[in-house]
Symmetry: C2
Subunit: 240 residues, 2 copies
Amino acid sequence: MSPDGDGVTLWRRVADDIRSNIGDGTISDALPSELELAARYGVNRHTVRRAIAALTADGLLRVERGRGTFVNNKPQRIVYPIGSRTRFSENMLKQSLEPSGRLIKSDYVLSDSVMAALLKCRVGTRLHRLDSLAVADGIPLSRSTSYFSAERFPGIIEAYAETGSITEALRREGVVDYRRRETRLTAERVSARDAELMSCAADAVVLISRAIDVDLEGQPVQFIRTKFLADRVELVMLQS
Amino acid sequence: MSPDGDGVTLWRRVADDIRSNIGDGTISDALPSELELAARYGVNRHTVRRAIAALTADGLLRVERGRGTFVNNKPQRIVYPIGSRTRFSENMLKQSLEPSGRLIKSDYVLSDSVMAALLKCRVGTRLHRLDSLAVADGIPLSRSTSYFSAERFPGIIEAYAETGSITEALRREGVVDYRRRETRLTAERVSARDAELMSCAADAVVLISRAIDVDLEGQPVQFIRTKFLADRVELVMLQS
DNA sequence: GTCAGTTGTCTAGACAGGTAGACATGTGAG
DNA sequence: CTCACATGTCTACCTGTCTAGACAACTGAC
C-alpha cells in the first residue's frame, strides 16, 4: 500500500497478534516461551520481548522471571448500550459511573447536500456544530461532533455548555423526547488530535458511529458523529 | 506505553490524521501544501510526502505536480445491516453482490463457564468451532468463529462446507428460523493471521462483533464472533 | 546440587525512518 | 515572460528497529 512497509513496526504487529489471540481465547493463561514465539512469528527473540514489554506496560501480561509470561485478568470495558433511546448519562449512572460532558469547540457551518439530506433541511441552512468530550469517572470515553439546526435550536450551545448533557440541552430547547433512528458504525485508527483529546495511546483504535436522532414527530433533531475509544468501550445492542 | 515510541511510524500517524480529517469533512477538496502540513504537524516535509504517498496508493488522494494534492471521490463501504434478522447472503444479494463463504478450519472445544453461560449449556459440553471467511464479489469482508452444540448439530460442519452459508447449514440441522438476541461491538488492529486470511494491509482495523443467535423457542443456537474489515464494511442499525 | 528451561542483559552490525538542505520541474496569475 | 508557489528528486547524517550471538540469573523438577 505504500513505498516500503506499512508504517507499523514488527514488534507492534507481534504485540497486536498476541493481544488478538488473548481476546479470542487462543491464549488463556501462560504464553509460549519467548524462543517459541520468536520461531512461530519468524522474528528475533528481542522483537518478541519488545512486544511483550508493550503488552506488559498495558497491564495485559505479567512476566515472571525464570517461569514464564502470563495473561492478567483484563479489566472489563465499559458497556455502552445502543438502542432507540440512547442516553449517555443514564447509561453511565446505571453502571455506577459519574458521567460528564465537556465542550471542546463550537461554531457554525452551512449544510451541504449530504447534511441537508440527513437533517431534512435545505442546502445552505446554518447549523450549529458542537464538539464535545464524554467522560466517565474522569476517563475520556468518546468524542462527538453534533450538528443542529441553528434556526430551530438557537441556544443549544449555551445549554450544553451549562449542563454538559445533550439530552438536557435539547429539553431546554423544547425537545421533550427524542429517539435514535439510524446508527452506522465503522472503525479507524485514532487521529493525532483525538489521541491528545482523549489521552490515549497514539496507536489506539476508535469505533466511529454516525447517527440520526429524531423527535416524536419523526423530524431529525441532530446528526451526531461519535468516536469511541475501542479499548475502553463496548457497544451493546439488545435485539428483542 | 512501551520503551520508546508506540510502534507506529510518524508518517503513518500523519497519514491516519489526514484520513481522519477527510472522513470528518475537515478536508474536503484540496489539501494544504506539503510545507504547510509539515509545519502543522511539526515534522519534515519528506515525512508528509511519505504519508501522502501511502494515501495516494490507497486511492484516497490524487497528487498534481505544481498544483497541489486533492481528495478523490472515496469508494463507498459495503453496507451490512444489523438487526434481529441478520443474514449475510440476503444482505449481499440486495446490494447486487455475489456472496460466498469459505470454511477455514473446524474443530471441537469443550465449553468453559463463559461459553456455557452464553449458549445455556453445561460446562464441558462438546462444541463445534467453525472458522469461516465471508466474501462478496471475491473481496473478503469478514472472518467469523462460530460455536455450536455438537450434540444438537452433529452435521453442521459438513452442511456449512457444502453450502457456504450458516443459515442454510442450520436449516439442514432442523433450525427453521433464528434471530439475533444480542450483539456486542468493539474494535482492534488486525492480527497478522487475519490480515493474511483477508488479504488486507497489516495496519488495518477490524470491527469485532460477538453475538448470540437464538431459535424460535429462544434457545441459543450459536455464539458467533466476527471480525469485519473496517475499511470495507459499514454496520448499519435501523432503529424504528 | 544438578540440570533443563525460562527471562534479563549486553554487544555489534545491517537497514529503515526521520531530519535537513539544495535544486529541478511543473502551474497559474499577472 | 516573470514570479510565487506547488510537487519531484537527490545527498548526507542521525536515530530507532531488527537481527545475531553470548552469557547471566532465576525457577522447578529430580
